[in-house]
């Protein structure tokens, strides 16, 4: 009947053309971390008092594992054995990667990290929520804004006020219930 669902073999849409190259870069990164492990590991000092194998052996072991496994992955990839992207309820395997949204989300997390100290945690958190919800397509903006402010205040109240986690309260400094 419906051709779109009964022809699984022909629809190679999930494998974006760039993916094997991305995977290859990731595998090479695994190898290079191992190489860095060996190079930087050489400068680890072994105190003469060490009675055991010392602080170098285990890092070398792990670096060796990274190089070996990474090489194995590169070989596997060159033979065509690509990875299976993770599945999930909210993940639509049939659409192309939305890099813009990923970039926006990462940008808002970064912005959040810069706002915590000057403006306080509640404002930084509200900005993060508002920006992330907007990036993910939530409309209208005023509902996002209200949700963001309420969530930030509730979290500040619960974690800083009730549980004593010292989040900088920013403009709420001085209100005991919001901690600080």
């Amino acid at each position: 009947m419906s051709t779109s669902i009964s022809s699984p073999a022909g629809s190679g849409t999930t494998a974006a053309p760039g993916r094997p190259i991305g995977e290859l870069i990731f595998a090479l990164m695994v190898i290079s971390i191992g190489v860095v492990g060996f190079v930087a590991g050489a400068s680890i000092q072994t105190p003469p008092s060490a009675s055991d194998i010392g602080p170098k052996a285990f890092p070398y072991l792990v670096s060796g594992m990274l190089v070996l496994v990474g090489t194995g992955l590169v070989i596997q990839l060159l033979r065509g054995g690509t990875g299976v992207p993770e599945e999930g309820e909210d993940v639509d395997p049939n659409i192309a990667t939305d890099w813009a949204t990923v970039g926006k989300l990462a940008g808002f997390v970064l912005l959040h990290s810069f706002l915590i100290v000057p403006l306080g945690w509640p404002i930084a958190a509200a900005v993060l929520f508002f920006g992330a919800a907007w990036s993910l397509g939530a409309r209208p903006w005023f509902r996002n804004l209200i949700t963001a402010i309420v969530l930030a205040l509730v979290l500040q109240f619960v974690f800083a006020g009730l549980l004593g986690v010292s989040l900088p309260a920013g403009f709420l400094e001085g209100f005991g219930v919001f901690g600080g």
Binding site: S6, G37, M65, L151
Partner: protein, 581 residues
């Protein structure tokens, strides 16, 4: 005796409230896609700053058990499963729901989870002290052997690709070596940065990989459009008929006794247990019931759900007696203990017996609460399932940032969180499991210490690592586990291919049995053909799709629409399976 003392602690109103809070949060996150118990415990790690150990551990244990219950609701009512361990449940439970039998599927899952959880907790109460008493006697050499087993099984068996799992594990071990060496106080891989001198905090890595990585990954391929939930009909007291009870109780018990032992060995956690239970139920079914498998057999929900919960209790045996986590959530529980400077290992039952027994007692209590809460409250869980996804993932990011900032109260940690989160994004994209990395990061330092102690005792002779009889036995068991699990994995993919093929056939000819076509929804259910909502053979369930939608609280979506939505996602998930190599 000690268990009774544990109950005396856990039954205090304060702790009952903490347990209730834990199971509620646990069920909610179990229901929600994209967020699981491991992520939740990681996100709530700031609780350890203000709560005393017993309270925090009870909350986390409640989240652990609650997540197991919630996952089954999602896999039955939404086509794609939340917890990996519930995938098998989706095979049958989702078909049952589409055939109008969702209520029975939910009930058999909840009751089965309760029975299995309770029996498995009893087993845990009796087995764990003996294992601990034995474990106290073993030395570092045996420890090294046990941890090698844990590393290799977690690394190689948790994901779909052995090499990618091992790469993930190695990355975790590498991060674990960063910072000061605990024995000689030498700096390792700090690259001169004061931020790396203390190493990268486990919570930071866990939150980044589980929460930020997941949010970025879902954002890159977010499924748009309304969330299609299959409606549940009728009052919860009438959910299971006599026939359902008769068909369920044996699978519950079998699932329990399959799940608990599998959970105790590091063989891939609940996944393997649910699959084994499903395979055995399928094999044991006879005649017409056997034909029902793949189309909504209640045994295929009852057994795996029971096995799932029993395995969850089983996982606590190696965690509490040896300090070895075999799943991501167990790893986060271990971190919670570490936050309180409570050494988890064979000494735990001696040194902190009050805490351990309060934890175990709270598992009994939590299980009972979950049974009582789950069935009547299913309407609430369905509502939670429909949270707008932008808000869900924005909220996850805010919680992640909160968790990261509160590690050291410095914004630098939020930036490290982002970097590791991007790593988690690419790991998901390229099929690397993230759990081995977290386990490696947590067990790495313990492993290194034991390894160095072993080699110090043997004066550097590596043969000593395998010459101890117990260690040799452990390595032999490791080989057996590997052979067995590869065999099981082969069977699992064969079974999945078979089920997928069944589904394809039904969709293609479109003239299957009434029950089968109801299960598929029919590819052309476009609103005019609202016939395929409930099998005619189901006298108790109302067959009117409109009424069904009304009861579930699925907003104003008309019934046939829901069914057709289900059919489409069902077909797309089949496609997924087929495309996987």
């Amino acid at each position: 005796m000690s268990l009774l003392e544990g109950f005396a602690v856990a039954a205090q109103p304060m702790y009952l409230l903490f347990a209730l809070g834990g199971v509620l949060v646990g069920t909610a996150v179990g229901v929600l896609p994209g967020i699981g118990p491991a992520m939740t415990v990681a996100l709530l790690m700031p609780l350890t700053y203000s709560l005393e150990p017993t309270a925090a551990i009870i909350v986390f244990a409640g989240i652990y058990y609650g997540g197991m219950y919630g996952g089954s609701t999602t896999s039955i009512l939404l086509n794609t499963p939340g917890e990996s361990s519930s995938i098998v449940t989706a095979l049958e439970g989702n078909k049952m729901a589409k055939a109008g039998r969702g209520a029975a599927a939910l009930a058999t899952a909840a009751v089965g989870s309760f029975i299995a959880g309770t029996i498995a907790t009893v087993l845990l109460s009796f087995v764990a002290p003996y294992v601990a008493a034995f474990a106290v006697q073993i030395g570092p050499v045996e420890y090294v052997a046990l941890m090698v087993v844990a590393f290799l099984t977690v690394g190689a068996l948790l994901g779909s690709s052995v090499l990618r799992g091992l790469a993930s594990l190695a990355l975790g071990l590498f991060i674990a070596t960063m910072g000061f060496d605990s024995l000689t106080a030498q700096q390792r891989y700090t690259f001169g940065s004061p931020f790396l001198a203390d190493g990268i905090d486990v919570v930071l890595v866990a939150v980044a990989l589980f929460a930020v990585g997941e949010a970025l990954y879902v954002a890159s391929r977010l499924r748009h459009g309304p969330i299609k939930v299959i409606p549940v009909t009728g009052g919860w007291t009438k959910w299971m008929r006599k026939e359902d009870w008769r068909r369920s109780w044996r699978p519950w018990l079998r699932g329990t006794f399959i799940g608990f032992p599998v959970g105790t060995i590091p063989a891939g956690g609940a996944d393997v247990a649910t699959f084994l239970s499903y395979a055995s139920e399928r094999k044991l079914a006879k005649g017409a019931r056997k034909k029902q498998f793949g189309k909504g057999a209640i045994e295929g929900v009852a057994g795996p759900e029971a096995a799932n919960n029993a395995a969850a209790a089983g996982v606590l045996v190696p965690l509490l007696t040896l300090g070895i986590p075999t799943t991501a959530t167990a790893a986060m529980l271990l971190v919670a203990f570490q936050r309180y400077q409570i050494p988890v290992g064979p000494q735990l039952f001696e040194n902190d017996s009050a805490l351990v027994w309060a934890l175990i007692a709270s598992l009994y209590v939590g299980n009972l609460m979950l049974l009582v809460l789950n069935l009547p409250l299913v309407g609430i869980w369905v509502k939670i399932l429909q949270i707008p996804r932008p808000y869900l993932y924005a909220g996850i990011l805010v919680f992640a940032a909160l968790g990261a900032f509160s590690v050291n109260f410095t914004p630098i940690d939020v930036i490290i969180l982002l970097i590791l989160g991007i790593l988690g994004f690419f790991m998901r994209r390229f099929g690397y499991p993230v759990a081995p990395m977290v386990v490696g990061l947590i067990l790495g330092p313990i492993f290194e210490n034991q390894l160095r102690r072993s080699l110090a005792i043997s004066q550097g002779d590596p043969v000593a690592l395998v010459s101890s009889p117990i260690a040799a036995v452990i390595y032999v068991v490791l080989i057996i586990i590997f052979v067995l699990s590869f065999w099981m994995r082969k069977r699992q993919s064969a079974l999945e291919a078979e089920t997928a093929a069944d589904l394809e056939d039904d969709v293609d000819d479109g003239t299957g049995t009434p029950r089968a076509s109801a299960a598929q929804g029919g590819p052309d259910a476009d609103g005019t053909s609202g016939t395929a909502s409930a099998a005619p053979g189901d006298p108790v369930e109302p067959a009117d799709p409109g009424a069904a939608a009304g009861v579930s609280g699925a907003e104003s979506t008309p019934g046939p629409d829901i069914v057709s939505g289900g059919a489409h996602s069902g077909a797309s998930s089949t496609k997924n399976r087929k495309e996987s190599p």
